[in-house]
Amino acid sequence: MTEVTVIDEVSTDTGLTREVLMNLGPQHPSTHGVLRLLLQMDGEIIERVEPHIGLLHRGTEKLFESFTYTQIFPLTDRLDYLCPPSNNLGYALAVESLLGIEAPQRAQYIRVIMAELSMDVGAMTSLLYTMRDREMVMDLMEMITGVRMHTSFCRVGGVREDLPEGAEARILEFCNIFAARISDYETLLDNNRIFLARVENIGNITAEDAIALGLSGPNLRASGVDWDIRRDDPYEIYDQLEFKVIIRQDGDCYDRWKCRVDEMRESLSMIRQCVQQMPQGDILVDDPKIAFPVDKDLLSHSMETHIHHFELSAYGFKVPAGEVYTAIEAPKGELGYYLISDGSEKPFRLKVRAPSFVNLQALTERTTNIKYLADVIAMLGSLDPVMGEVDK
């Protein structure tokens, strides 16, 4: 064993030495959720950061194994709770891949619109002012799905409902308003010397380190690595969209933030393209063994629909034995679902490769690039972990 000493309590020091152990959290405004950091410091200089995670651990993966495939959707919502549509999408793709089905075109567009909208929400949290615009997205979500946060809108084989009337217009309206405001917000920070002093050349991560650390998403691209799953291994209808993959070179806190801001712009352009291209048509696969009936009236007229509905609700549907790993580009990075099915109605094992979990680890390894206490906060903010996903 190498010389890792475990910090398990804050020592009662006389105050005569400069060695300080400081506790940060579990509640801190720079994190989503509860994260406790123990900082070993020499004066104000950071020597070691030790995250204590698990305060939000809910045993999601254990629960997966006792839930049917449809029941799992609400659980995936609660991973990265800022972007439930992305989480739903990744999971749905895994199950659909084993079933050998594909969602209808319109459903794919709806899923992508929702995922990109939530992508914005994820990136918006970088600034308090954007809370106003976040509300607009929340209103949109409420209009489309009926709830603000935990949407559970995806289904295996499509989405739950079609977009309500007027939703397209509202989405485009949001895109226009927000596109104009992004530049305002960007100027607010980009010309702010205090902000720049706190983020520029802080927490630099080289491309090599970023890869070894398994960083993904904007955190990896800010270090100059050109990889975006949406472009390189396109799922759903991403191959029909035109977008730029934002790459920056320095890999410091500023670049990670800048990457996210620029990606919001790309997101908006993708949403616009989706709304323009979206065809009319079905939103769920036409297979009563897998999908609930879209037309709920049928439940009171058709005995067959009724029986299928009962079977689906009571027992779920069987997924052929096999295994699959699907990865999508979630706001925080590569969100992977590794599904092993034994042919029953419940997954044998469903592992979530949570991007925030991996990204947060960078905090421990890169302490040489973080010098002062204030840098830890900037680093934490720029890595942007969501604890719901870290702790699962």
Partner: protein
């Protein structure tokens, strides 16, 4: 996309019969490797110029109870230069011990702590072998298939299941 045409043969040659290719899954190629060859194989896969599997996506523990060998570790690799994916499976008997791959990919650190925490898989040579989600002193490994969904009954968990008479655990 080069899904099944990976130039794996030169890397696998020195391992002879010990490393085999598993064709059961269709989404990506899969290698079966015994624990003793794991680190060598991973290092080769990462450093070989025609492969460059430099990105470790995920390590997933699996409990196959009541089958034997009981445990399985699944590594998902990704090659950034070539955009290939590869799966490595490593079967482990009970009690499960496997060498760590933290020196191959730094990111393995927390993934391995997670597998230790939830499945009780010991990673030989791991720099920081502690639980990650559950607290120190927690008994049992919650993701094992014989672990009850509600956990075991204790002061904090009055709704839990009764512990079996003979202790299997640690």
């Amino acid at each position: 996309m080069l899904r099944n045409g990976l130039p794996l043969a030169p890397v696998l040659l020195p391992f002879g019969q010990r490393v085999s290719i598993d064709n059961s899954a269709t989404d990506m190629p899969c290698l079966l490797v015994p624990p003793a060859d794991l680190v060598d194989l991973c290092t080769q896969l990462r450093d070989d110029v025609s492969l460059r599997f430099d990105f470790l996506s995920d390590i997933c523990g699996v409990d196959l109870h009541p089958k034997t060998p009981r445990f399985m570790l699944v590594y998902h690799l990704f090659s950034l230069p070539h955009k290939w994916r590869l799966r490595i499976k490593c079967h482990l008997t009970d009690p499960p011990i496997v060498p760590t791959v933290t020196q191959v990919w730094t990111t393995a650190n927390w993934h391995e702590r997670e597998a230790y925490d939830l499945y009780g898989i010991t990673f030989d040579g791991h720099p920081d072998p502690r639980r990650i989600y559950m607290w120190e002193g927690y008994e049992g490994y919650p993701m094992r298939r014989d672990f009850p969904l509600r956990g075991y009954k204790d002061d904090y968990n009055p709704m839990g299941a009764e512990r079996p008479a003979k202790e299997g655990g640690r």
